[in-house]
Subunit: 216 residues, 2 copies
């Protein structure tokens, strides 16, 4: 028996439907994300996911049509969290009256915080993003575009405000920035975990502000 009642934690979903089911799905997401990040999608078995979630295999199939559907919904779920967090950071920085480049910097930090909190998800996202020929390719493209678009918006605003040169290539620069943050953060976690988030943020910030080689 658990002391805590399953209170209605969740969304205003369609209707006041089952909290229980939602909790099960959440457990499955959490189990799946770490396993898939560690081993990859095909190397992870449904039995493993069920076991780690503390649930019977049948339950997985009661809640999701298939292994890959589970994965796709997991992706949507996770990128939703990421873009929300990036947007919030940008908005806050904007409200505080800063320049757009400060918003950019705030987003870098938000990205790092996100990765620090959900390292497994990030790992899995990067590993699957550029795979061709897979069922969830289209899901991933949509979801990537959402994230990159947030950065593009800020870059565009910065150009509009005259903070950045009009010469910059917005889509390419946005992609490069996102990549820089993702990879730097994963490397930090994997190979230099002793560094602090502030260290990493400072290094990236410096790169962005041109204090690495931009002397000119």
């Amino acid at each position: 028996m658990n002391g805590s009642k399953p209170v209605k934690i969740k969304t205003m979903e369609s209707s006041a439907s089952s909290t229980r089911r939602e909790a099960t799905r959440q457990k499955l997401y959490e189990a799946a994300v770490t396993l898939i990040a560690e081993q990859g999608f095909s190397a992870t078995t449904v039995d493993e996911i069920a076991e780690r979630a503390g649930v019977a295999k049948g339950t997985v199939y009661y809640n999701f049509a298939s292994k890959s559907v589970l994965f796709e919904e997991l992706l949507r779920h996770g990128v939703g969290l990421l873009t929300a967090s990036l947007k919030q950071a940008a908005d806050e920085a904007a409200l505080e009256g800063g320049r757009q480049v400060d918003a950019l910097d705030a987003m870098i930090r938000a990205g790092l915080v996100f990765i620090d909190r959900y390292p497994a998800f990030t790992q899995l996202y990067v590993a699957e993003l550029w795979r061709t020929n897979r069922a969830w390719q289209s899901t991933l493209m949509v979801v990537r575009q959402q994230a990159v678009a947030v950065v593009e918006d800020v870059l565009r605003a910065a150009v509009r405000d005259g903070e950045l040169s009009e010469e910059i290539d917005i889509p390419l620069t946005a992609a490069a920035l996102v990549g820089m943050v993702l990879v730097a953060a994963l490397d930090w976690q994997a190979f230099q975990p002793e560094r602090s988030l502030d260290d990493v943020h400072a290094a990236l910030s410096r790169l962005l502000q041109g204090r690495v080689s931009g002397g000119r």
Copy 2:
């Protein structure tokens, strides 16, 4: 029942080894790299690899002890090519008397050229690099360190020559730079293939030189 040991150990390859065998291995590498990039390691079957290489399944096992050994050797092979190419670019730039930051720029371009030539390998490398718990983890760590070290060397030289501030965090900055190039290039291939290599190079160069937000 016992005497028929297929003595396969040969190990002393060095140079004069059989050309035929080498050609077979090369075909297997090429077949494996694209299949694994597309589908991932576990989703790719040995039968598929053999078929695409135009070779019998037995041949795969005559040349490699197992599927994962084939993969590990493939990784070593590929990263060898990459670091050689980066080093060469840095050396050439150094000989041409340029500053260290020019060497950095040359390496970015070399990275892009490499990725353009071997997109499948890059894809596969990024997908596997941060996976924990896998047999080839240690192989990958070694191999990553080789690549990053080339960049670190140039950064260190640049600081020594006073071209870069002593404040920069060399390992973190090197990792971020490598990440920026990798991700920007993969994104370019996957989502904006119409852009030219020069476009991508220019965007990254600008970022590095601080002409994106470093105006201050």
